[in-house]
């Protein structure tokens, strides 16, 4: 690792660790930011690197949310009686039970979505281009509609996640706990994605994006790598969902968990805004988007979805390459690309 990188990463980690103390009032927003970055980075593995534009990662996010909460409740109390359908009885988690529950819940919410991604991957990833996009869109919405009809997880009434143990007197503890949890997830995801960016796996994903038939002809078992890539995304999306469920404290099938209209679009938008197919693009895109959203949302109350829709159209139509793509075009040397001046001139003349 170069010294410059070392300084950058260590200062970012110190900033991240200090953030909840520096900006004590914005802990929830910072937790959101970490989760958004994780979602954008994992979406980028499909949409940016593999060329499979998915709307379906929201499926794993929502699944993780429901799984974490269900396990956390179900480990100690009967789940059917917790939710609305069973009379919404009140059970109180002790401190130890709460943390044990959320620990096991997060573990389950990482592994089960990854397994599900592997199981449906063979069928779904055989579709290409826009068929894949529409199919995953359908999958995410179907999951939300079906979850809204299942009684044991609260059906349409929603699911209240266990409240933070009351024995901990420190009022800041809840915010800090979820912030550090999401920050740990962010660091884990970043290290993982950075590892992928330096590996042969990324080259294979890029080959699939650029020309899948040729990649197959070169002897790459594309299906295997596509499924593994999707499973990696599902793993981190599930974890992100689990943390978000605990933070929000209430799970609704279509408005919180399988929220294709917000989260499902946000992750695509953030990755495109920052620049698809780059390591830092989704991070920058998610940060910019979050600041924009939090800053503007309250100013234009009621009109935020109109603004969101217009933003989507403007970004997609005018900046499909994103911020990093724009920088790359402007300063190609910084990205390690060498440009042959003669060749460039010749191409300009041809135009």
């Amino acid at each position: 690792m170069k010294q410059k990188d070392l300084i950058l990463y260590s200062s970012l980690i110190i900033l991240g660790l200090a953030a909840p103390y520096l900006f004590s009032a914005f802990k929830v927003q910072l937790t959101y930011l970490c989760v958004l970055i994780v979602l954008a980075m994992t979406w980028n593995l499909q949409g940016g690197e593999m060329g499979y534009n998915t709307f379906g990662n929201i499926l794993f996010y929502g699944l993780g949310m429901y799984l974490t909460a269900s396990v956390q409740v179900g480990m100690f109390f009967p789940l059917a009686e917790w939710t609305e359908s069973g009379g919404e009885k009140t059970f109180v988690h002790t401190t130890a039970q709460y943390f044990q529950g959320i620990g096991v819940g997060l573990l389950v919410s990482a592994i089960v979505p990854a397994i599900i991604a592997g199981a449906i991957g063979y069928a779904i990833l055989g579709l290409r281009g826009h068929y894949f996009a529409i199919c995953t869109l359908g999958l995410g919405i179907a999951a939300g509609e079906i979850a809204g009809g299942i009684e044991i997880i609260g059906a349409g009434q929603g699911f209240t996640t266990p409240p933070f143990p009351a024995e901990i007197v420190d009022t800041e503890a809840r915010g800090k706990f979820f912030y550090f949890l999401s920050f740990a997830l962010l660091i884990g995801t970043f290290i993982f994605v950075k590892y992928i960016y330096g590996s042969r796996f990324r080259l294979i994903l890029n080959a699939i994006r650029d020309n899948e038939d040729k990649a197959e002809a070169m002897g790459i078992q594309t299906m295997k790598y596509k499924i593994v890539g999707w499973m990696c995304s599902a793993f981190f999306c599930g974890l992100a969902g689990g943390i978000m469920g605990g933070l929000i404290g209430y799970i609704d099938s279509t408005d919180v968990a399988f929220d294709g209209r917000e989260m499902g679009v946000f992750m695509v938008l953030m990755a495109i805004l920052g620049g698809k197919g780059t390591l830092w693009g989704p991070v920058i895109g998610a940060t910019l988007f979050h600041f924009f959203k939090e800053g503007l949302w309250t100013l234009i109350l009621g009109w935020q979805y109109v603004a969101l829709g217009v933003l989507i159209v403007v970004i997609v139509v005018y900046f499909p390459e994103g911020l990093m793509g724009w920088l790359r075009e402007k300063y190609p040397e910084r990205f390690g690309e060498v440009i042959d001046e003669k060749d460039r001139k010749a191409q300009v003349e041809l135009k």
């Binding site: 069928a123 179907a142 695509v268 109109v306 139509v317």
Partner: protein, 297 residues
């Protein structure tokens, strides 16, 4: 699950008739989808929201005291210009690009439309009363609202009129030429930009008719557009582009599926079943094609 439908045969007749009449309406929306997909090669996620907007236009004239059935004439005229404007604003910039760009851009348009309709018409479920009464069949055991029969009849009428228009008129021939080969059509003097705008306008007008019919047969709500988009997408991928009889048949099939899913699984799973059917159809076709080492294009 509820298997009442298998115990009472009359319920089955009821579901079948409802499904077929509803399916004809879906087929009309799907025909617009197939038209723009075939000619301009874009997938319009905002299709369902155009339908709902058309419905709200009919609902508005109903509030003014005019019979909502006039909506099937007024709504398409207004929607044609809405579609034309939409094309000039956004769609013309995504026509020649990657399909995913058109999906995302129209997704953005869909969100804007939903929210604006929410502001203008409110978030309540509304329906325009046509007061056509109902027809009773088989000793009053099957009830059919006359508005559903009316809507199926109008749908067929407009579809036939459009087919004839596409075959005979100058614009229709220009549209078909552009669909076959846009570049060649351009060389032969067809103003493809105008053709694209007209195609999108016609699509929006079809959505307007369907919306006006939905306002008297079903219910309207600002956020129920997406299921209509998915239904029309599903019908188009089953039937193929530009195959009108197949569009009609698969539309009716979808209507039947929905009504039976409604009875068997329960109303809360109805929309879920539609979206799941889309996934299953795509996966089925993918496995069928992969035997020939091909994939959906």
């Amino acid at each position: 699950m509820d298997f009442l439908i298998f115990k009472a045969p009359m319920l089955m007749v009821q579901a079948s008739l409802d499904g077929i009449l509803l399916g004809i309406l879906f087929a009309l929306i799907a025909y617009g989808m197939a038209l723009q997909w075939g000619v301009m090669n874009i997938i319009n996620i905002a299709q369902g929201d155009l339908v709902i907007l058309g419905g709200y236009i009919a609902y508005t004239i109903y509030l003014w005291g005019i019979h909502p059935a006039w909506g099937v004439i007024i709504s398409p005229i207004i929607m044609f210009f809405v579609g034309w404007g939409l094309y000039k604003l956004v769609i013309n910039k995504v026509v020649d690009r990657d399909l995913f760009i058109s999906i995302l851009a129209t997704f953005g348009i869909a969100i804007v439309f939903q929210q604006l309709m929410n502001f203008i018409f409110g978030a309540d479920v509304v329906v325009a009363q046509s007061e056509y009464g109902t027809t009773m069949l088989f000793d009053n055991s099957v009830t059919l609202p006359n508005s559903k029969i009316f809507s199926a009849f109008i749908s067929v009428l407009y579809a036939v009129a459009l087919v004839i228009y596409m075959k005979k008129s100058r614009l229709g021939r220009a549209i078909r030429a552009t669909a076959q080969n846009a570049r060649a059509a351009k060389i032969l003097g067809v103003d493809t930009e105008k053709v694209y705008a007209a195609t999108f306008g016609i699509n929006a007008a079809l959505c307007g008719i369907a919306g006006a019919l939905i306002s008297i047969t079903l219910t309207l709500h600002p956020y129920v557009g997406l299921p209509y988009t998915v239904r029309s997408f599903m019908i188009v991928i089953v039937a193929g582009l530009g195959n009108l009889p197949a569009v009609a048949v698969s539309g009716m099939g979808l209507g039947l599926f929905e009504e039976f899913a409604d009875y068997i699984l329960g109303t809360e799973f109805r929309i879920g079943a539609v979206f799941l059917l889309l996934v299953l159809i795509l996966v089925y076709r993918r496995f069928k094609l992969s035997k020939k080492r091909e994939y959906l294009k």
